[in-house]
């Protein structure tokens, strides 16, 4: 498979993730977008690992997955608590840190 195609797909995924974070206000979608960006990175790791024929990239993917899992657990907990406090999951409503 062509490496440039994979890179293109990865960049597209990352861009979709960023745009998702920037334009969607639903906290869950927000969260999904972050996962999408992480997996765009993972895709690049795997692709380059295969290209150069070593396993370092694969090891990194596992790390990223572990971190993503942990982050999902914490993040979802936060979202649930936020929902309990305001009964909405719209991130624009949570501007308590405004200076």
């Amino acid at each position: 498979m062509d490496l440039s195609l994979i890179i293109f797909v990865s960049m597209a995924m990352f861009a979709i993730g960023i745009i998702g974070v920037l334009v969607r206000r639903n906290a869950l979608i927000f969260f999904l977008s972050i996962e999408l960006m992480l997996n765009a990175g993972n895709l690049l790791f795997v692709a380059f690992s295969r290209q150069w024929g070593n396993q370092i990239g694969l090891v990194w993917v596992f790390f990223v997955l572990v971190v993503a899992a942990a982050e999902a657990a914490v993040g979802l907990a936060i979202i649930i608590n936020l929902f309990r406090s305001k009964q909405v999951v719209d991130v624009d409503q949570y501007n308590l840190l405004r200076g």
Binding site: Y94, N95, G99
Partner: protein, 622 residues
């Protein structure tokens, strides 16, 4: 011996501390006892030191308590110097001070704040003792400022009276001008000699500097400015008449024992340096002469009994400086001593009247008091005659000595000025006596009935002072070769300018001075007993003391106030506050802008993060 010095010095301080700490717990009687006892003990200490000193043929000695300021080149110890000059001064301070303390028990009996008064009185004596005993100029300066503070506190004792509060502030501020001169002189001393030790300075000044060296002239001039402020000489005398707002014993203390004599003492103490600078000495003499005549003229015009005495003090201090000016330091010290006795006597006997008449000091409301005050009036008369220079009372000898020295030294102008001042002395004091004690009574009837002679606690100290005023002149009268006081003080170089003739009654100027005194007293007695009622209103410009106060007010205080108001209303809000507020406004503006970035919107943060990352990547790639 060393212990006696420290005991004498610190006992009044102990009294002050005890009274201050326990002011709420002790009664009136105990307060008076503590205050008087500490001063009496101090007097006994110094008196015994005097006996030891004279009988053991001792030389001047220094005692150091501890090294006070050990900073590189400035080595100032807490050192006291025991020599004839300081001994004479301490005896005057504690002796007259003790009598005034005792007297105060009677004078202040009706006051609420009894303890505060005595605490400050003790503090005053302590500061003055420190001043005269100090072995180096830095320590002397401590006492110097201490008496300034104490006088402020005591003149403003009745602080709820606006006049008293104002007088206290005035005394403090005017003194501060002189103190600035003294402080600069002190710094110059340290610069020139690297030490403040008076004995060392006196010793080295003659060796290291030529006669009339300009820098020494500056030094003595600065010290003299300090003396002018403290001793109420001509440009800076205005605080002393106003200081009459304080209780009368305080006036007595300021005028006789503490405070105003400090300036004369300083000049006498530093006489080895002053002798090297003839130009400053001429200035000292001139200032003293002009002041003595000026103040004597002012005294003639006063309607307030205490103010007459105040101007009299200024005048007599002028005479002391006059004597210093020709190098007759012993004459100045002798006059200081007799003046202390006589002026304390005058003030305290005037205080009897003032106290019994509930604070009335206006002579226009007195008259014929000799019937009401049979004893006080004799005491006051003694003081009047003694101060006027009627032989053989105390001040005759000292004043005659000053006149004689002027005459022998060939300063004819100063001689005639001094002569005129003594003529006026007799005149204004007799005038005050006649207005207050003789003639028809101008008291209202109900006041007259209530007034009676002062109690013994007040009369006895005054009587002792009267005795001293009569006999004090013998200290300086030659029984043998040299008078006692002169021989004693000669040891520290405080001597006369010219050799005194062996028999003073053979010299013409003695007879002239007696004649002058008699004329002064006689004229006043004649005028004010015969025509007292018509001549009570004297010349306005004398009463207002040549409008000097008004001049200072218009020339200095008003412009200064205008300047302050300008600074307060324009400079302060616009320049200082403005510049500081500009800084705060800028900071506030900037932070308000920055605040908007912190919107709390996660998505905007993310957007900024993306922008930042993109910029970073672009930067790194290119």
């Amino acid at each position: 011996m060393e212990y006696a010095v420290w005991l004498g010095l610190f006992l009044p301080l102990a009294g002050f501390l005890i009274l201050t700490v326990s002011s709420h717990y002790i009664g009136r009687r105990l307060t008076g006892w503590i205050a008087c006892f500490t001063i009496l003990m101090a007097f006994i200490c110094f008196a015994s030191l005097l006996l030891i000193y004279t009988h053991a043929d001792m030389t001047p000695q220094s005692f150091t308590l501890y090294n006070w300021i050990p900073v590189d080149k400035i080595q100032a110890g807490f050192t006291v110097r025991l020599d004839p000059l300081s001994l004479v001064m301490t005896l005057i301070i504690t002796g007259v001070g003790f009598l005034i303390h005792v007297y105060s028990n009677g004078y202040m009996e009706h006051e609420e704040d009894f303890v505060r008064y005595f605490a400050f009185l003790n503090f005053f004596v302590f500061c003055m003792l420190l001043l005269v005993l100090a072995g180096n100029l830095l320590l002397l300066f401590v006492g110097w400022e201490g008496v300034g503070l104490a006088s402020y506190l005591l003149i403003g004792y009745w602080y709820h009276r606006p006049a008293a509060a104002q007088a206290a502030t005035k005394a403090f501020v005017v003194n501060r001008i002189g103190d600035l001169g003294f402080l600069l002189g002190l710094l110059l001393t340290f610069h020139l000699f690297g030490t403040g030790d008076i004995a060392e300075i006196s010793d080295r000044a003659g060796k290291e500097f030529a006669m009339g060296a300009p820098v020494l002239g500056l030094l003595t001039l600065l010290l003299f400015i300090g003396a002018v402020g403290k001793s109420a000489q001509l440009p800076l005398y205005t605080w002393l008449p106003d200081a009459m707002e304080g209780p009368t014993p305080v006036s007595a203390l300021i005028h006789a024992a503490t405070m105003v004599t400090a300036g004369v003492y300083l000049v006498v103490r530093m006489h080895p340096v002053f002798m090297l600078t003839p130009s400053t000495l001429h200035l000292v003499g001139a200032v003293g002469g002009v002041t003595s005549l000026f103040a004597a003229l002012c005294a003639v015009g006063q309607t307030d009994l205490k103010r007459v005495l105040a101007y009299s003090t200024v005048s007599q201090l002028g005479l002391m400086f006059l004597a210093c000016g020709i190098g007759a330091f012993y004459a100045a010290m002798f006059h200081l001593t007799t003046h202390a006795f006589v002026k304390a006597l005058l003030f305290l006997s005037a205080g009897n009247v003032v106290h019994m008449m509930h604070g009335t000091t206006d002579m226009g409301k007195m008259g014929g008091l000799s019937k009401v005050f049979p004893k006080t009036h004799w005491l006051f008369l003694t003081g009047v005659l003694a101060m006027s220079g009627i032989p053989p009372l105390a001040a005759f000898f000292s004043k005659d000595l000053i006149l004689e020295q002027e005459y022998l030294a060939g300063f004819e102008v100063l001689f005639f000025i001094a002569l005129a001042a003594s003529l006026l002395t007799g005149f204004y004091l007799t005038r005050a006596y006649c207005l207050a004690f003789t003639g028809k009574s101008r008291l209202e009837d109900h006041v007259l009935k209530a007034v009676k002679e002062a109690p013994p606690v007040m009369l006895i100290p005054v009587s002792i002072l009267a005795f001293l005023s009569i006999a004090g002149g013998l200290l300086g009268f030659a029984f043998g070769k040299t008078p006692i006081l002169e021989g004693f003080l000669a040891e520290v170089g405080v001597t006369l300018a010219e050799k005194e003739p062996s028999n003073i009654f053979l010299s013409p100027e003695t007879w002239l001075s007696i004649l002058i005194a008699v004329i002064g007293v006689g004229t006043a007695a004649l005028i004010y007993t015969q025509w007292a009622d018509r001549l009570r209103q004297p010349f306005a410009f004398l009463t207002r003391s040549f409008y000097v106060n008004e001049l200072y007010w218009k020339g200095i205080v008003v412009p200064l106030k205008a300047l302050s108001r300008f600074i307060a209303n324009f400079f302060e809000p616009k320049v200082f506050d403005g510049s500081i507020q500009a800084v705060t406004y800028t900071a506030q503006g900037v932070s308000r802008r920055l605040q908007e970035v912190q919107s709390g919107q996660i998505r905007s943060y993310v957007a900024w993060m993306v922008v930042g990352t993109v910029i970073l990547i672009v930067y790194l790639v290119i």
